[in-house]
Amino acid sequence: MQTGYPRVPTPEDAVGAVHRRYNADGISDLVFGVLSAGYGLIGFIDLDPHIKEAVFVLLIAVLGLGGPDIQTFLRRRFTDPRLGYAKPRSDTEAPSGQGRLVTVLWVAALLLFFFGRWILRLAVGTDHSARFSPMVAALEACLLTLMAALGAGSPRFYVYVTALLGWAALVQFWWPSRLGESAVWLAAGVIYLVGGGVALWRTYRLPVLDEPAA
């Protein structure tokens, strides 16, 4: 019996390993954290709502255009020498049951994000909709987080959801307004930044694995 060999992974294990490696360094969390905290902070600045929306769109554009380059730079610098580089398969087969669920939830969250408030405003009026803003924001952030958790399978995301829901419940009780909504998004950003920062720090502390000379 060969006991020196590790267990041969299943194909599902191998796919999971690529996803784990992709999320292990927390860089994706940091990007979402910057976006969410930025959106939350804008809410506290006394500006015309249209200017706020323009600033947010600008933030998304900067992260959208520069984000992949920043992530690649950070991964090459911190992650690849420690965890290795792996490019997930581009010719993935039809999504599994869980994959389809993640896709459906993503679409639902996007629809909720863009149309939920509008529908709520039409249904109960502007003043009343502001009252529910913190909880709506928390639910949106949680939905995004849970979907990421389903896709990544990282226990880190469940900690985010728990922290965010706890904070949103407090905000809903003490501060049910648009500013409360900003506070929830700011908190979500901080939670992601802290979680992502810790993950990046843990990755950075792993030993660098050298390849044999070419």
Partner: protein, 102 residues
């Protein structure tokens, strides 16, 4: 119909070896991966990993590209079309054998 012992004998020995099977499974889940990733995920030693990759390359199952990122050497490995076919055929055969065994 091929008998069970013949099917078992027909298993691709290049892939059937546990370390190389581990590498084939890992590589089948990615477009490409580097030496460090395979080292970490397979649990093999550097020497073992290097020698098994060389065997797989000689069999035409993987493609190895050696390069540098800055001054650091980086070896990128990917399955070839022949490797992909061989792995699929190996899995099919293994399933048939498992069905025979119940």
């Amino acid at each position: 119909m091929t008998s069970f012992p013949r099917q078992a004998a027909g298993l691709d020995r290049m892939i059937h070896e546990p370390a190389r099977l581990t590498l084939m499974v890992l590589l089948s889940a990615v477009d490409e991966a580097d030496f460090v990733y395979l080292l970490r995920e397979s649990g093999l030693t550097k020497g073992n990993l290097g020698s098994h990759l060389t065997r797989l390359e000689e069999a035409g199952y993987v493609e190895i590209e050696k390069g540098f990122v800055g001054k650091v050497p980086r070896t990128v490995v990917r399955l070839t079309a022949a490797g992909q076919r061989a792995f699929t055929s190996y899995r099919t055969m293994l399933r048939k054998i498992a069905a025979h065994l119940g």
